[in-house]
């Protein structure tokens, strides 16, 4: 399409109503919500952070040849138990998401409480796991990258557990209705991301040095 020669237009255009949107829903579940896309954006940015940190880990492995550097690998039992529990948490997480989609307040409350308790348990386990890494951040480059990876993930774990607890409290107040259900779905999807980021991290930090 082309336009005529440039002429300044100084009056606003008249409106012609061709559509009415008064009956549109006031919020939507899952991908329909704009907030869901925002959460995915943060997952993408943080996900690339994990990928780069994994890259840095293997770069250091490549440079050094010997791995782990002058320390024994981290404790396998706590971390495996931690990983199994993480994977197990996906089930109540899935249910919390499912019943949020159905706006079933009673069931959502139940699974949110379970998720909060699980989250606190996982944080406690994480503390134990860190104590059993068998290295410190200032020992050598191996210790530095292990602490960076585990620390970065712990930050995610902590954020999402706090978020889950706040949402749980919110759902027991008078605000526990309407689009809060969509917020819970988003929080559940973020939890899935936190678990998904942990799996390669577990393999790299806890299994790889034993190969």
């Amino acid at each position: 399409m082309t336009s005529g020669p440039l002429q300044s237009i100084s009056t606003p255009l008249q409106h012609r109503v061709v559509l009415n949107v008064a009956r549109l829903p006031t919020y939507g579940h899952g991908t329909r919500s704009s907030q869901w896309w925002g959460i995915m954006g943060f997952c993408a940015a943080e996900g690339i952070g994990f990928v780069l940190a994994f890259g840095a880990y293997f770069y250091l492995v490549f440079i050094n040849g010997v791995w782990p550097l002058s320390s024994k690998p981290p404790d396998i039992y706590t971390s495996t138990f931690h990983t199994v529990l993480m994977l197990g948490s996906l089930w109540p997480n899935y249910l919390a998401r499912k019943y949020s989609g159905r706006e079933d307040l009673q069931k959502v409350r139940r699974y949110l409480v379970i998720m909060s308790v699980l989250g606190v348990a996982l944080l406690a386990l994480r503390a134990l796991e860190i104590a059993l890494l068998h290295t410190k951040w200032d020992h050598n480059a191996y210790g530095s990258i292990v602490w960076l990876l585990v620390g970065f993930h712990t930050l995610h774990l902590l954020t999402d557990v706090v978020d889950a607890i706040v949402l749980t409290v919110l759902m027991f107040t008078r605000h526990g209705h309407g689009k809060r259900f969509a917020n819970i779905e988003q929080n559940c999807d973020y939890w899935t991301f936190v678990v998904a980021a942990w799996i390669p991290l577990y393999v790299i930090v806890f299994l790889f040095p034993r190969l």
Binding site: P5, V21, P25, R32, Q35, G38, N64, N140, S144
Partner: protein, 672 residues
């Protein structure tokens, strides 16, 4: 061109059936009742019940910002924050420019004693980080914050409170580094702060720590705004704006936002590792304990090369918008233009190693990155050809914005040519770290960003302020800038080939670089003069320029349907889009959607590809919490330079402010 313009095919722009503009899906799953599907409250006034000045006035109240300092700090209006963002980025551009002038004065003659080596090191570092992190990345996002909601036909940016927070974090980070510089603790290790120079052994003191935390501030802000941009483009488009009707400027900002989301975490990773090496004794870059300094370079340039495109891609959006409006026809090759931008975005992640050609690479690696560096010239070339074709087939009107685009073509292509030379390893090894490289990247960065930016300011100034800028001063500005730029930077190609290194504070007269450097300095003064003309033009025009009216250029995109400057609600009713240039398709009346609330902040949320109206979500009310959260964040980041425990005790106020931000209010629902 004298050819008659093609007649307007009205049938193509007919408004489709409502079923193609609405999804009509309820929120609840089959067999359940969702609160979202409740019928609208009949007591709530909607925009199909009022019209004219009353509608305008009521919406302006609903979407307005309250007066006073608290109101100003609580605002979530994307136009107010966008305007602040643009002005702040320009302040940093001027500060960066002044530091460059100081360096040019020092280099004007050999063995000059004007500036000593320590201050000179701080100056080139401040110049680099200011231009890259405090101007280059934010300016593209700043334009997006102001313009995207207007161009997409919505009322605010997605996550408007996060937008306010991002702006404050950016300002505080920029202020921190410049205050540090004024206290003689400005960073002095170059904008990329390579270890081992930047490590604990060779850079004791706090200078480099300020650099690292400046990165944290600006990247947190930039990533958050990038996510807002993506969500605004994906979900906040006016009904009917399918993917192939998105304005080219918006595509550019979308691609740019994706590059930011994927590139910036790399520099954050690098700077976090560096500050940890410096403050808590990690060994990422310490070869004695298994670390490696080249790891830093890889991480840095995985960000650093896409950064070039973060600076360039928004400029392609400005060029596209200006070229279309002043060529008086739609863009030639819309699809190739969009695909080129996306291809550039992908390819930009595949050539970081060409910054490291002299670090000793495997042969295959060097060849691969040479090839990919040359490859990226192809999509950029396609864009240039599409713009030229648009102008060729149009009836170009040579106003100041288009002049700057012409300057862009000339300078950017010249910079691209020296870029092809540098992509080749043998040449790169010869001229690495010489003034030749300085000449090259100033041609691509000033040519590729600053010239289109100045054109964009002339072009959108009437939308920002309601007044036109002076054409006469604009032409003076352009020619001074264009000639001054070339006098400054062209001689650097030659001084570089003669062997003059970068980042030296002085040189001996026997080197024979004196005349070329004097010419460069004279050119820099001319470039400085052009910016003085620009500043005068901006200030005088903002007060006394001719009144613009909504659409002074007779442009086609939706921002020109709003008032100049736009009212808080942007549009009294949300437009319905049937064409890439909606205002050229509908010259008499604008098709609109009605039914949104007049009393509450409602926006239409649409589907990602087809742009069908799907939901009417609420948009956040103003709030002081994002400002308080930004202050808490600042205390945490600055404190962490002095003790790592700041992360812990600074986390408490940060957490409290975030809770205040997100906790729902009594009557109205709060939002991000």
């Amino acid at each position: 061109m004298t050819r008659a313009l093609a007649p307007h095919d009205a049938a193509l722009d007919a408004v489709p059936e409502p079923s193609r503009l609405l999804t009509g899906r309820p929120s609840g799953q089959p067999g359940m009742k969702s609160e979202a599907d409740a019928p609208p409250d009949p007591r709530e006034l909607r925009d199909d019940q009022v019209d004219g000045p009353e509608l305008t006035a009521r919406l302006a109240t609903t979407w307005g910002t309250t007066k006073g300092i608290i109101g100003a700090l609580s605002t979530v209006d994307h136009k107010i924050i966008g305007r602040r963002y643009i002005i702040t980025a320009f302040v940093f551009l001027f500060l960066g420019g002044l530091s460059a002038i100081a360096m040019r004065m020092q280099l004007a003659r050999s063995e000059s004693g004007l500036i000593g080596p320590d201050l000179y090191n701080q100056l080139f570092t401040m110049h680099g980080i200011t231009m890259m992190f405090l101007f280059g990345v934010p300016i593209g996002e700043a334009f997006a914050v102001f313009l995207l909601p207007l161009m997409l036909g919505t009322r605010n940016i997605a996550f408007a409170r996060l937008n306010a927070y991002s702006y404050y974090v950016y300002v505080f980070g920029g202020a921190m580094i410049w205050i540090a510089f004024m206290l003689n603790i400005g960073p002095d290790v170059g904008w990329f702060a390579y270890p081992p120079l930047s490590g604990p052994e060779f850079s004791p003191g706090k200078r480099t720590d300020f650099w690292a935390q400046m990165i944290t501030f600006t990247e947190v802000a930039a990533i958050a705004v990038a996510i807002q941009i993506v969500v605004t483009v994906f979900k906040f488009r006016a009904p009917g704006m399918t993917l192939d009707r998105i304005p080219l400027f918006v595509w550019a900002e979308l691609v740019n936002a994706f590059i930011i989301i994927f590139a910036l975490p790399a520099v954050v990773t690098a700077s976090v590792m560096l500050i940890m090496d410096r403050l808590v004794g990690t060994h990422f870059f310490n070869p004695a304990e298994g670390g490696d300094v080249l790891l830093y370079q890889h991480l840095f340039w995985f960000f650093g090369h896409p950064e070039v495109y973060i600076i360039f891609i928004p400029a392609t959006g400005w060029v596209s918008a200006i070229v279309v409006t002043f060529a008086r026809r739609q863009a030639f090759g819309y699809i190739p233009l969009v695909l080129s931008m996306i291809a550039t975005g992908f390819l930009s992640f595949g050539l970081w190693v060409h910054h490291m050609f002299t670090t000793g690479l495997p042969q295959l690696g060097a060849s691969f990155f040479t090839a990919s560096s040359m490859l990226i010239a192809i999509p950029n070339g396609i864009q240039i050809f599409c713009w030229i074709a648009t102008l060729w087939d149009g009836r170009p009107v040579f106003r100041t914005p288009l002049l700057f685009v012409m300057g862009f073509f000339f300078i950017f292509v010249a910079g691209g040519l020296s870029g092809i030379m540098l992509a080749s390893v043998p040449i790169d090894a010869q001229v690495h770290d010489t003034m030749f490289v300085v000449a090259h990247f100033h041609y691509v960065l000033i040519g590729g960003n600053v010239f289109p930016l100045l054109g964009a300011i002339y072009y959108w100034f009437p939308k920002f302020t309601g007044r036109m800028m002076s054409e006469r001063l604009g032409k003076w500005h352009f020619w001074l800038a264009f000639i001054g730029f070339n006098i400054t930077f062209f001689p650097m190609h030659i001084s570089g080939l003669m062997g003059m290194p970068r980042r030296v504070y002085t040189y001996l007269p026997e080197m024979g670089w004196g005349n070329l450097n004097l010419i460069s300095t004279l050119g820099a003064l001319m470039l400085f003069g052009s910016f003085v003309v620009f500043l005068v033009n901006v200030i005088v025009s903002a007060r006394r320029g001719a009144l613009a009216g909504p659409n002074p250029w007779d442009a086609g995109t939706l921002e020109w349907a709003a008032a100049s400057p736009p009212l808080p609600q942007n549009f009294d009713r949300i437009p319905v889009v049937t064409n890439r240039e909606p205002l050229w398709a509908h010259r008499e009346t604008l098709p609109v959607a009605a039914g949104l609330s007049v009393e509450n902040r409602e926006v239409i949320v649409s589907t990602v590809t087809a742009g069908r109206a799907d939901l009417k979500e609420t948009s956040p009310e103003p709030s002081i919490w994002p400002f308080l959260a930004a202050i808490a964040t600042t205390i945490t980041f600055v404190g962490s330079i002095f003790t790592p425990w700041a992360i812990v005790w600074g986390g408490v106020p940060t957490m409290i402010t975030l809770l205040g931000w997100f906790w729902p209010k009594a009557d109205k629902e709060s939002e991000t």
